[in-house]
Structures are given as C-alpha cells and as structure tokens.
C-alpha cells in the first residue's frame, strides 16, 4: 500500500496507463511543459515526449473534436479541460459529436476518449473557476464519472481510459491535496456505473459525491449523536446512474436526501428524486429532499460562497426535517 493524495492518484493513473498502452495520449492547455495548472500531468512530457503529451492552443472545442478524431484513428486521448467551467465551447463536440458518433455510425465506430474536468467550489475561484457542470451532460452516449477518494480517482480514471465510450471525468479541485489515503500498489480498476456505500445506516440515505460527500459524512456523524443513523452513498458514476444501489438503499431506509454543489434546478438531484418518486413512491416515508447550490451564478466573496454551497449544518438540518416528516 502507498499513501497518496487525490491529485497524486490521478497523476499515477496517467503515468501507469501511458506506460501500459502506447496509444494513450494527453492533450490540453498547459498539460505539457507546465505539467498542468494543478500538476495532474506532471512528468508526463519528459517521460513520453511531445507526440503523446500535447500542449494545445486555447481552443476547447478543438481539443475535444481532435480527441474524437484521434480516438477514431486508434489513439486513446485523455483531454484536459483546465477548469470544468471552460467546457462550454466544446459542448457541440461533446454532445453532438462524441455522444452520438457510435450510434450514428450504427455501432461500427467507437470513441474511446476521456475528458478530465477539474470542477467544484470551496476554493475561492469565483464564477468561472468553481462551477459543477455535471448536469449539463446527462446525454445518451456520454458517461459521467466523479471520484471522491484517491482510491477511486485512480481506479475510475483507469476505467475511463480503457472504456470504449466517451467519458467525462469530473475531479474535485478542493479534494486534490486535502484528501489522502492508502491505495494498493498493484493494478486495480473501479468499475463504471457502480456506486459505493460510504457509510452504513438504517434511517435515511444521503446521496452525494465529491466535496459534498465529505460534508454528508460529517453530517452523518452529528446526526448519529441525535440517534439518526444515516447511510451515505458515494455515486461515483453520475450518468448513467447506478439505480440499483440507490433503490436498494432507499428501499431499506425509506428516506432520501440528495446533496450536490450544482444549482438545485436542473441538477442531478432532480433526476434522482424523480426516479424515486416514480418507482419507489409507496416505500417512501418522506418526500425526497435536495440540498444543493443556489439557483444563481457561483459567487466569489467568501461570505457569499459559503452561503451558496451546502454546508454540513445545512445538511444536518435538512436530514432532520426529512426524518421528522
């Protein structure tokens, strides 16, 4: 075992995958000479050379479009969108091109590509360096994953790179250096579309990922003092979702609270709530609650940012209400 940070786990996965498979390439802004603004791609250029580690111009649509083409001609591109907030120019190439290409070509062509997107708040980044945009990509043909732990960061990135479909990999900036854990030295993969029970409980299910997973776990500790045993699900794959794990848990606890950073309206919490209302309604003892970012742009000033993001206290309060209902 080896103790690594979340960002080190990402860097290790990239090194190992590039060593294992010569078709894996890296492209994005500042990923080569600079080693990435977060150092996720540190050391790759020196080891693998500039044909496999490509510093690109500032052109996100091109980064994704070129990745699609590269994937068609036998490469396995791992593109970096420097901040998830910068992904909007590439929306066409992701949603109209990559997502539909396999289907459009009647299954004859695959698009094995990964798009790494540093995302999330709590870092004082302001509106264009803090957003959680995962809900933009609930698109048939795309896979969206988001690891919460160093173990998953490594295992899910490897799974994404080896996947035959386009995978968006959302990595939380706040977790990069704040979370450490021991991971096996030997090879492992974290399967796509498999959620994880991060804490067992019987009274209510908290469903989350990323930084909010840690706040949900903190909330669960506080709630335990009051006699509420919360189960906490770490989603890991956000689209298409592991419905089975969610339904199994909520079927037992009969109460569900979804927590995420993105604005509540149109967030993935709405889909979870709708699925539960549609198919598990008669087993529920309380309405499904969503604790989410505000329906506003993401603010900069710390007073506003703290108010915008779900806090541990807000989660505790929300879960209490759900359990009293």
């Amino acid at each position: 075992m080896k103790e690594v940070t979340y960002i080190q786990a990402i860097n290790d996965a990239l090194h190992e995958e590039m060593e294992r498979d010569p078709s894996v390439i890296i492209l994005g802004e500042d990923v080569g000479i600079y080693g990435g603004v977060f150092k996720a791609t540190y050391g790759l250029l020196e080891k693998f050379g500039e044909e496999r580690v490509i510093d690109t111009p500032i052109a996100e649509s091109m980064i994704i479009g070129v990745s699609v083409g590269a994937a068609l001609s036998g490469l396995r591109p791992v593109a970096e969108i420097q901040f998830a907030d910068f992904i909007s120019p590439a929306f066409d190439q992701l949603v109209q091109q990559a997502a539909k290409l396999h289907w459009r070509n009647n299954g004859a062509l695959n698009v094995p590509m990964t798009v790494r997107c540093p995302y999330g708040g709590g870092v004082g980044g302001g509106v264009y360096h803090s957003q959680s945009v995962e809900a933009w990509f609930q698109i048939p043909g795309l896979i969206v994953v988001s690891p919460s732990t160093p173990y998953d960061a490594k295992g899910l990135l490897k799974a994404a790179i080896r996947c035959e479909d386009p995978v968006l990999y959302f990595e939380h900036k706040k977790l990069y250096r704040s979370i450490k854990e021991e991971v096996p030295e030997e090879e492992y993969i974290v399967p796509i579309r498999k959620a994880r029970i991060a804490r067992k409980g019987k009274d209510v299910t908290l469903i989350s990922f990323g930084l909010m997973l840690y706040r949900s776990l903190e909330a669960a500790l506080k709630l335990a003092e009051e006699g509420i045993e919360a189960e906490v699900i770490d989603l890991r794959t956000l689209y298409p979702m592991d419905k089975e794990t969610i339904f199994d848990s909520v079927g037992r606890t009969r109460r569900a609270v979804v927590i995420h950073e993105a604005p509540k309206m149109g967030g993935i919490g709405g889909e979870i709530a709708a699925m539960l209302a549609e198919e598990l309604f008669w087993k529920l003892d309380a309405p499904v609650k969503r604790i989410a970012g505000l329906d506003t742009p993401f603010p900069f000033a710390p007073t506003m940012e703290n108010y915008y993001l779900p806090s541990t206290e807000k989660i505790v309060q929300g879960v209490r209400e759900t359990c009293e209902a």
Binding site: I64, A70, L72, S73, R104
Partner: protein, 322 residues
Amino acid sequence: MELTREDLERLYDLLLLTRTLDDRLRRLFRQGRFEGTYFSAIGQEATTVVPTYLLKKDDFIGPAHREIGAMITRGVPIREVVCQVYARKESPDGGKMHPCTFGHPRYHILVPATLMAMQIPVAVGVALGYRNHRRDNLAVTFFGEGATCKGDFHEALNFAGVHKLPVVFICQNNFYAESVPLRLQTAAEDISVRAVAYGFPGVSVDGNDVLKVYEACREAFQRARSGGGPTLIECTTYRWYGHSDIDLAPYRPQEEVEAWKKKDPIPRFKRYLFEEGILTEEKEAEIIRRIAAEIDEAIDYAENSPRPDPEDVLKDVYATAL
C-alpha cells in the same frame, strides 16, 4: 498520382453516376417516395468526386451533408446509398440519420454530425492518429464556405498547422450559406486567403473544372503525405438547387443560376475527353445505359428493403455494456 486515359474515363463515369443518381433521388423525394428532405449536390460533383478518386481507399473522409460523390467514388454500393436516403435498415447508419447524411465507416467515410464545421476538428484528430502511428494516410474533410465562418474551422486549421498534420481541407464555396450570400459572410476576398493565418498554403481553384481540381488536390495530397502539412483548397462551385429540396432558393437571381449552369463541370469535362479522343459517343451511350440500369436496380432494391425495427433506436447508444 498521374491520371491515365482509363482514369479520366472512369472519372467521367463517376461524375455522371453521381449526377444521375442525385437527380433521380431529388425527383423521388418530390414524388413523396421517402421522408425528410433531400440535399442535392448537383453542380458541385467535381469538388467531391475528384478528390475522393485521388485518395487511397483507407484514407479518412470527413464529409458534410452533400457528399454523395464521395460515397459513389469510394465504391459504396449504390443500393446502400439509396437505402440511406430511404432510411432503410441496410443504410450504413441503420436508418437512424436523415437523408444525405452520407457516410460509411467500412469505407472510411464518417457518418457525420451535420452541424456545420463539426467534422473539421475530427479530421484533424484522425490525422494526428496517422502521424503518431506513422501511417501513410491522409485525412480529407469537405465543408462549405459557410462552415469557414465558424470557430471549429479556425481552431482546427490552426492546430493542424502547428503540427503539420497530414490533412487537406476542401472548401466547396458555392457562394451561399443556405440563403446568406458570400458578401454577408466574409469581407475577405476569398476563402483560401484564410490559410495564411495558419501558416500553410491556401489555393482557390475553379471547382467546376475537373482538371483544375485534380491538379490542386494532387499537389496538396503529395505535400501532406510527405510531411509537408495541410492545405486549404477552395473550390468555387454552385449548387443548382436550394439548400434542401424544400428550399426553392428565391434568394438567387435566375440569371445567376443560368450562368452557372453554363459552367456545368460535366459537359466541360466531356468536351475535353472528346477532344482527346478518350470518350466517344458509343462509349458514353454505353455508360449512360449501364448507369440507368444500376440506379433502377438500386432504387427497386431500396424500396423493397425492410425499414428499421422500432427498437433499433435503442442499439449502439454505448459501445460498452453498462
């Protein structure tokens, strides 16, 4: 490659087949024989048939939505081309895509996303793969002048120039982006001048002159294959009909249309072939007879071939079993 007399005759054959099939399909749409709409390429054939003919069979083609000529020239069976337009199960896209989304993965032609310019970065990415794998291949992408006004065009050509990738960009400048005339699309004198900004050559040629298109492509393809990087080729041409067959193109003066019809690439090439003694009346009559029979057979085949099953929509959303 140098064109032999056989090549020249074959090119005429392919141009005529493309034109005749296109015209038949256009009429069939008007008769209500298939759904959707139809995007005719009549008038523009030389700009796709000639480049495709000069490519190797496994060179990548990233088409737009008017590349029936690329399909024909690559040797995609006409039956499958007609099945595409009729949205039959045997269409290369399985009937999932609307008419004229011409592509065929087995023939290295991408079934395109028909949003303008989206195929351009993809072709550049394919060329990147060719470079990394040291493959002696070339990626070619077709688009109209309208697409050159979009960001994807700029981003893709800029990147291709930086890495001197084996890709050739073929712009079919037909002077209208649907209805918007060139003067409202760009203040530049022509489209090929844009290449200057990307550090590689741009050329403008008469896209209705088979031999001019051939010369421009030969030079660009050779340069790209020998590591010399991309070229932007602007072929000036004209579509005789509207953007799609529900567009009667009232935005174009009739005199302009007539003037361009006089510059039809096919009779121009035919005159040359007759002068050179490559083509004769008898040979041409034989080609016309054969083409008509092939097309009749293909349409009959497509009309009697099964439609997709409703559940086919569910297939191939993902390559992975999730």
